[in-house]
């Protein structure tokens, strides 16, 4: 089956998945107890106000009607409005998405750059500090709580040593952010030639990226390690070796390609996590990402952002994993797409 038709099929399947996912989150958030109107009014509310606000917010409509309103809004590209920020949800998300993408992408790069070699070294060699370190990293890294790691890094490198910049956001407080082109400060400052801004935003990304990459890289390392070991023990590797192929070639040309399949799967899974699941890192480092936005809204019963957020993450995730799926066939031509 060719790439393009397979890709086209997968793309078409994205729509029902999005439909299912957005409906699921809608139903779930509707089931959450707690009155959004009450949250909005705060401590100084009267019963009549509550009633009229509930009506204004559309909370008194029957569930089915609210679902239809929600869906028809989605089809028009309207994700509703967050009463917490006062903005349209779509605007809010798009404003914060570049930050999350920037953080996620950089973290994933670092995680792959560290994790795969660590796993490969650990699997291919039995002694040596690097190999040993790789194995230990794989075990320890997955056991570290992300927010704890972030706090420790902040405490040591910012508070005690003063090396890192203050964890007050994407950029130094008194520095003007770059002109908005993509939304990513790194890219925009590169494109506009703003070197100070580039340095400031890169500096502010260092600790959060290390925190995230540490954990993600560890699980990539582990998966690479296990997968490599299995492949290295397999028959065709031994045959290759028996035929005198050099060990470097064995590792990197033959074994790695085959070992990478579960690793690639894992990377695909991680991407969704890195974009939407790093709320705690965003909190510790004061980064305005989409995860924090959704969680903060959820905690005050503001559900439209949560619904929009899930939809957005679904889209990003599905696209990324489409790529992953196509990589399967590159890595292992034996795999048949059913």
């Amino acid at each position: 089956m060719g790439f393009s038709s397979h890709a086209a099929r997968r793309l078409m399947l994205i729509v029902p998945t999005l439909l299912g996912g957005s409906s699921l989150i809608f139903v779930l958030t509707m089931l959450i107890p707690g009155d959004p109107a009450l949250m909005r009014l705060g401590n100084f509310a009267t019963a009549e106000q509550l009633q009229s606000l509930r009506q204004e917010m559309g909370l008194t409509k029957p569930p089915y009607e609210r679902y239809v309103i929600y869906l028809s809004g989605l089809l028009r590209g309207d994700m509703g409005r967050s009463w917490r920020t006062g903005n349209l949800v779509l605007e809010d998300l798009l404003a914060r998405l570049p930050m999350s993408l920037e953080l996620g992408f950089c973290s994933m790069l670092l995680a792959i750059a560290v994790g795969i070699p660590a796993g490969v070294q650990g699997a291919a060699h039995n002694d040596g500090l690097v190999a040993y370190g790789g194995k230990v990293y794989g075990i320890l890294g997955v056991a570290m709580p992300i927010f704890w790691g972030g706090l420790v890094l902040v405490y040591v490198f910012y508070f005690k040593l003063g090396i890192a910049p203050p964890p007050t956001g994407r950029i130094d407080m008194l520095v003007v952010p770059p002109r908005h082109i993509t939304g990513s400060y790194l890219l925009d400052s590169l494109l506009t030639g703003d070197l100070d801004v580039l340095v400031s935003s890169a500096a502010h990304l260092v600790l959060p990226v290390i925190t995230l990459a540490f954990v993600t890289g560890a699980s990539i390392a582990r998966m690479t390690y296990t997968s490599m070991r299995k492949v290295l023990a397999s028959q065709f590797i031994l045959v290759g070796h028996a035929y005198g192929v050099s060990p470097r070639a064995i590792i990197y040309k033959f074994a790695l390609k085959n070992a990478l399949m579960p690793v690639v799967t894992l990377i695909g899974l991680q991407v969704g996590f890195l974009i939407g699941g790093v709320v705690l890192v965003e909190m510790v480092f004061s980064l305005p990402g989409i995860g924090r936005y959704a969680v903060e809204s959820l905690l005050v019963n503001d559900f439209a952002p949560v619904q929009g957020f899930v939809l957005l993450v679904l889209v990003v995730y599905l696209l990324v994993n489409l790529v992953v799926d196509l990589l399967y066939s590159v890595l292992n031509p034996q795999v048949r797409h059913g």
């Binding site: 291919a124 056991a143 992300i146 996590f273």
Partner: protein, 296 residues
């Protein structure tokens, strides 16, 4: 792909270049692997013991503290210091092993069973069934674990079981996907083809032949998932939701102790974290050893 007739010249390979110690010192390697596996078994059994005998091992009541000693540091009477309510951290870590072992086992059991089932069906049957199941799995996977867990904990009664299932749902698709991926590879290998040619029924084929060979990444993933589940529970506690106080679960302790890092009381989050690492290491070594064995 070589045919099945080649006998594996494991022990009689020509002198390998440096770096390929695996083929040279197989005996040495085998026993190193054995040692690690035994270490894993040891650690896991130790924790099981701690969990079983917690009330006898812990010197203090994990739920009651002496507020006058709140935030106290490490001392002879309190080997791991005290938490913000003045409760002995050592006792809480000991009792916490019960919760975390429970979480570990339940998370793996639940997601393993459900995920493997779905993944096997999907990978083996292929076609429309595969598509449907994978779309549903994609949907579940794409939900960021936090929001899903947060929402589940908000909607359903907040017991330990609810929390664990809320966290496990997130792992089901992982297993399903891995199994499915392995299925695609395995089902075209000769032994599978051979077995089918010999008339093995599909069900038998899946469970007796294909599944054991797909176990390796599955086991690896399980051990990773255990620590993720506990850490996600900790993350939920950090946001303020999740397990109910005053449960001495390690994740809760880590999240309660983290705000005290900046005020210098590092022990509050360190010891439960160390315990978590030890437990995960035990499981990991165990898992790695098991998967090494099943490869034979």
């Amino acid at each position: 792909m070589a045919t099945a007739q080649i006998s594996i010249p494991v022990l009689r390979s020509p002198a390998p270049p440096t770096g390929f110690a695996k083929q040279q010192a197989t005996v040495r390697r085998a026993s190193a692997g054995q040692r690690l596996f035994r270490l894993g078994v040891c650690i896991t059994l130790c924790w099981l013991g701690v969990a079983l005998f917690a009330p006898w091992i812990a010197p203090y009541n994990p739920l009651q503290g002496d507020p006058t000693l709140a935030k106290g540091g490490i001392a002879l009477a309190h080997l791991c210091g005290l938490d913000k309510y003045g409760r002995d951290i050592f006792s809480r870590v000991v009792h916490g092993s019960r919760y975390d072992l429970f979480i570990a086992v339940t998370v793996v059991a639940f997601s393993l069973v459900v995920g493997t089932l779905l993944g096997s069906i999907s990978g083996f049957l292929g076609g429309k069934m595969d598509n449907l199941i994978m779309r549903v799995m994609d949907m579940v996977l794409a939900f960021p674990s936090f929001v899903l867990a947060l929402v589940c904990v908000a909607v359903f009664p907040p017991t330990l079981m609810t929390l664990v299932i809320a966290l496990s749902i997130r792992f089901v698709p992982m297993y399903a996907r891995l199994i499915r991926g392995e299925m695609f590879v395995e089902k075209v290998k000769e032994y599978a083809v051979a077995a089918r040619a010999l008339g093995s029924s599909q069900g038998r084929l899946v469970f007796r032949h294909l599944l054991p060979n797909s176990l390796t990444p599955l086991i690896t993933q399980s051990t990773t998932n255990i620590s993720w589940a506990i850490l996600n529970a900790a993350g939920l506690s950090y946001l303020g939701v999740g397990l109910q106080p005053p449960t001495p679960e390690w994740g809760v302790m880590i999240s309660e102790g983290s705000p005290f890092i900046v005020s210098g009381q590092w022990w509050m989050s360190f010891f439960p974290g160390a315990a978590l690492i030890l437990l995960t290491t035990g499981f990991t070594l165990l898992g790695d050893g098991l998967s090494a064995r099943t490869e034979r």
